[in-house]
Structures are given as structure tokens and as C-alpha cells.
């Protein structure tokens, strides 16, 4: 019944968009820009609606199981191991700025930092957060402070020690992070966020001091480095789920199910594309042409 209601809600939203579009066409008003395909707007609305419906269902008491992300579970192990060894935990969340397309990964990195800060407060670990973007200084300080304070260990919080802004120049940042890992002899090296060429420098520095390494990014070109060198790695979308997992809130976790709807749609479109390639054409138009027209022009 709930599934039927969800499908009905999404259908009604799409119908409303269709009606508005039809009325605007009738009134000769160009409602949507031509620089972005209308199908992309529809996909965005469907994904947002699906995610929201799952969140509402979770509020109603329905439980959505989320698969274990080993890298996320390993964070607690990394912090505990560092405490046992008497070494600090190092975290950095990359070189992407909040004003660029890397902002979502930056936010995901902050979510992981929040989780690490709480664990460091819980186990009494020293946390060193290194930054390569100045706009994150105040946020990182707040997150680390909150982590220690909420765990009842305010005496462990030292702004100068815990949060270190290094520079906004890429390889100067890489060099400084590397130096911090060596000099502080970190027990755990956790790097989650947007990373560029500096990613392997961080990983190898952590490897040289035998640190427990957890890494994650959604930048495809850096994922192979992290998978090869880190003990555990978040691959692609997993970094976005980390913030939801850290919250432990069932509504927030339910939103991840919205991604599954998107994946299902992507698989359907890929299969349709493959089938369209195999089908014969119609009066000079192949089915791929028709599918492309629907997708690009809408």
C-alpha cells in the first residue's frame, strides 16, 4: 500500500510538471531553458521526490536496511588503535573549495570529520585536522570542538593543535600534510573529500609511518590510488553516505534509498539504449536518434 502511495505521489508530481509545461506551451511561454535538457530536470525532481518519500516512510516507522560500508566501520578501529599506540589521528578533507563543483565532496568530508571528532572525544584520542581551503577553518574548528565537548572531553580540545590551516597552494599543502604525518607520527591517516594529484603523497606518507589508512573520494582519477594503498577505502558515492551513517538517524539513512531509484533508472536507460542500437530504423530515423531526441530535447 505504501509503495503504491509512493508511486502515486511521484506520478502526481510528474503530472503536475506535465500540466505546467503544457499550459506554458499553450501560452507560448518558454518555461525551461534550452541549455539543460528537460529530461535532466525531470530526473532531478523524481530523485528528490523518491528520496523524500523514503524519508517520510522512515518517519512512519518503516526501516530501510543500509549495507555495511567497511571503511566507515573501520574509522572507530583506526581511532582506537591510535589511542592504544599513543599516536594522534590525522584527518584532511582535500583541496576542493566550497565555491566549486567539489562542494558536495567537501561537505561529505566535513560529515566524516564530525564522526571522527566524536570518536576522538569518546576514546580520548588526539585529532589533527589539516586544511588546504581557508573557508573551512571556522567550520572545522566548530566540528572538532563539538566532537570533544559532546563526548565530555573539553580538556582535549586545543584549536591550534587540532585544526591547522596550511596553505591554499596545492603542492605546498601536499608537502605540509606530508610533513605533519611524519613529524606527528600519526597512528591513523584518514583522508576523505575531493583530492587531486596530492592524494598519493598523503597515502605514501601514511604508509611510511605505518599508519592505519582510510581514504575516500568521488573523483574517479584518484580512486585507484586510494583503493591500492589504503587499508580501507570509500569508493565514489560511499563518501556521501558516510554523513548519513554517522548521524545514525533512520530518516537520514532512508534518503540513501533514493539513490537506488536513480541507479534503477540508469540501468533501465542503459538497457533501452543497448536495445535501441539493435532495433532497425524507421524512415531514416534509428531508435537511438528518437531516444536521443527525447533525452536531449525532451
Amino acid at each position: 500500500m505504501k509503495t503504491f502511495r509512493s508511486v502515486l505521489i511521484v506520478s502526481l508530481i510528474l503530472l503536475a510538471i506535465g500540466v505546467v509545461s503544457a499550459v506554458s506551451w499553450f501560452l507560448r511561454v518558454q518555461l525551461y531553458t534550452t541549455r539543460a535538457p528537460f529530461s535532466a530536470f525531470i530526473m532531478l525532481v523524481v530523485l528528490l521526490a523518491a528520496g523524500y518519500i523514503f524519508m517520510m516512510e522512515a518517519r512512519g516507522g518503516k526501516l530501510f536496511p543500509v549495507r555495511k560500508i567497511r571503511a566507515f566501520d573501520a574509522i572507530e578501529e583506526a581511532v582506537a588503535r591510535s589511542v592504544e599506540m599513543g599516536r594522534p589521528v590525522h584527518m584532511t578533507f582535500g583541496f576542493g573549495t566550497i565555491s566549486s563543483a567539489m562542494a558536495p565532496q567537501f561537505i561529505a568530508g566535513l560529515g566524516v570529520l564530525s564522526h571522527i571528532a566524536r570518536l576522538c572525544g569518546k576514546y580520548g584520542a588526539k585529532l589533527i585536522t589539516t586544511l588546504g581551503v581557508p573557508e573551512a577553518i571556522a567550520t572545522a574548528e566548530e566540528i572538532v570542538r563539538e566532537g570533544y565537548y559532546s563526548a565530555g572531553r573539553p580538556e582535549l580540545y586545543d584549536t591550534t593543535y587540532n585544526v591547522r590551516y596550511l596553505t591554499d597552494q596545492q603542492f605546498a599543502y601536499a608537502s605540509a600534510v606530508q610533513a605533519t604525518i611524519f613529524r606527528e607520527n600519526v597512528g591513523a591517516n584518514i583522508v576523505v573529500g575531493p583530492f587531486y594529484a596530492e592524494s598519493l603523497i598523503f597515502m605514501e606518507a601514511g604508509n611510511m609511518v605505518n599508519a592505519f589508512q582510510i581514504a575516500g573520494t568521488a573523483r574517479e582519477t584518484q580512486i585507484p590510488f586510494f583503493v591500492l594503498v589504503a587499508d580501507y577505502s570509500f569508493i565514489g558515492e560511499e563518501i556521501f553516505a558516510a554523513g548519513a551513517l554517522a548521524s545514525g538517524d533512520k530518516e537520514t539513512l532512508a534518503s540513501i534509498r533514493g539513490q537506488d531509484v536513480g541507479k534503477f533508472l540508469a540501468i533501465v536507460l542503459i538497457i533501452m539504449g543497448i536495445l535501441a542500437l539493435l532495433l532497425p530504423g524507421l524512415k531514416g530515423f534509428t531508435f537511438v536518434d528518437i531516444l536521443n531526441w527525447v533525452w536531449k530535447v525532451g
Partner: protein, 229 residues
């Protein structure tokens, strides 16, 4: 700070910015509205750049605070390193200010902050070589990481090693001498299995971004503010 300012104000700003960004990107209505959207969209980007620029000042102060605290705590052992860092930071700021003053007082001279002679000399002769040196370290790190990764410990590692060897031979001139088939095989690996593996990661990352946006819109994602609720 009041609860409203600390908890709700950032979330309201984020919600408004997300909704405006969607509207600016997708809606047109008519030429005037589209023009207004474009101007407002650029203004949002400019604000982000301005905020980042102010954040750099905070960053400079943060670096000074860090080094002064280190010197105070660790004394002479740390002092030389921190003094070099502080000295270089202050030197660059002084020359940048001179450049800014010249550009303001005598625009005809054509000197700006980054083109001020001493600033430029320090950048090109101190910073740029050091930057390139750190970048070049990467080649040794790739070699050491590859050595550890390609050790054959199980069948999957063997597959990785064989694939890597084909790509390496396909990328080097000696590969073509040993067997001409390395080049087309490398191209096939890079364009077919490699692309097929990357595409789902890209799609997944895009979907993850949309759902993160949903959580920000519905105020369920609060970890970026340092608190859960």
C-alpha cells in the same frame, strides 16, 4: 550566540541557495527573467569568491597563530623553522601590499599585486621550483605504491599485474618492439573495461550528490555545522 542564529540561519541560507541554483539553472520564462537569473547566478558565484578571499586573511592569521604557539611551546628547537615560515609569509604580504599601493596610486605603471617585481621574483624563484619539486616526488611514490600493489598474493592480484603490464608496455616504446599487439590491447583495456568501470562510479557519485542535496534541503544533514540536531 542565540540558538536561532547558530542552528537555523545557516540552514535557511543553504536551502535558499539550493532552490535558487535550481531555478537559475533550469528556468527561462522570458529573456528579461533569464537575464536577471544569469546576473543573480553570477552574483552568487562572486559572493563565494569574496567570502573565500576574506577567509584567506583568517588563514594567514591562523598560520601566524600556529607558528607563534609552536615557538612558545617548543622553544629554540622549533624556532628556526617557524621563523622562516613567518618571515616568508610577512615578506610576501609586504611586497603584495606594495604592488597593491602602486596599482592604486599609479595605475599607469601597470603594476598589480602579482606583477610587483619582488613579489614575482620570489614567486618564480622560490615558490615555483619548490612546488615542482614536490610534484616530482609523485613519480617515486607511484613506483613504490605500484610495487606493493602488484605483488601476486591471489588470482585477482595476478589479473591486476597482467593488466598493468599490458598498459605499461602499451605506453612505452619498448612494448611495441617486443610485441606490436600491446598498443591496441592497451587501447581496448582503457576504452572498454576501464570506461565501463568508471561510468557507474560517476553515475553513483552524481546520485549521491543529489541525495546529499535533498538532506541539506530537508535539514537532515547537519554534520557540516558540527552538530547533529
Amino acid at each position: 550566540m542565540s540558538l536561532v542564529a547558530r542552528r537555523y540561519t545557516p540552514q535557511i541560507i543553504v536551502t535558499i541557495i539550493i532552490l535558487l541554483s535550481i531555478a537559475f539553472y533550469y528556468l527561462y520564462i522570458n529573456r528579461d527573467v533569464a537575464g536577471a537569473f544569469s546576473t543573480a547566478d553570477k552574483a552568487l558565484s562572486d559572493w563565494a569568491v569574496i567570502i573565500t578571499s576574506f577567509a584567506l586573511i583568517v588563514g594567514g592569521i591562523d598560520i601566524l597563530r600556529f607558528h607563534l604557539t609552536k615557538v612558545r611551546k617548543e622553544g629554540l628547537k622549533q624556532a628556526p623553522f617557524s621563523l622562516v615560515s613567518i618571515g616568508l609569509l610577512v615578506t610576501m604580504v609586504i611586497f603584495a601590499l606594495i604592488g597593491w599601493y602602486i596599482s592604486y596610486s599609479n595605475p599607469a605603471a601597470g603594476i598589480a599585486i602579482t606583477t610587483q617585481p619582488q613579489f614575482r621574483w620570489l614567486y618564480l624563484n622560490l615558490y615555483a621550483p619548490a612546488d615542482a619539486a614536490v610534484y616530482s616526488i609523485l613519480v617515486f611514490y607511484i613506483a613504490s605504491a605500484s610495487y606493493r600493489a602488484f605483488r601476486v598474493r591471489n588470482p585477482m592480484a595476478l589479473l591486476l599485474l597482467v593488466t598493468a603490464l599490458i598498459v605499461v608496455f602499451g605506453n612505452t616504446t619498448i612494448g611495441g618492439v617486443v610485441w606490436p599487439g600491446f598498443l591496441p590491447l592497451r587501447d581496448w583495456i582503457m576504452t572498454v573495461p576501464n570506461t565501463a568501470a568508471f561510468r557507474p562510479i560517476t553515475i553513483g557519485a552524481g546520485l549521491g550528490t543529489v541525495v546529499l542535496g535533498l538532506r541539506l534541503l530537508t535539514w537532515r544533514e547537519t554534520s557540516w555545522m558540527g552538530r547533529r540536531e
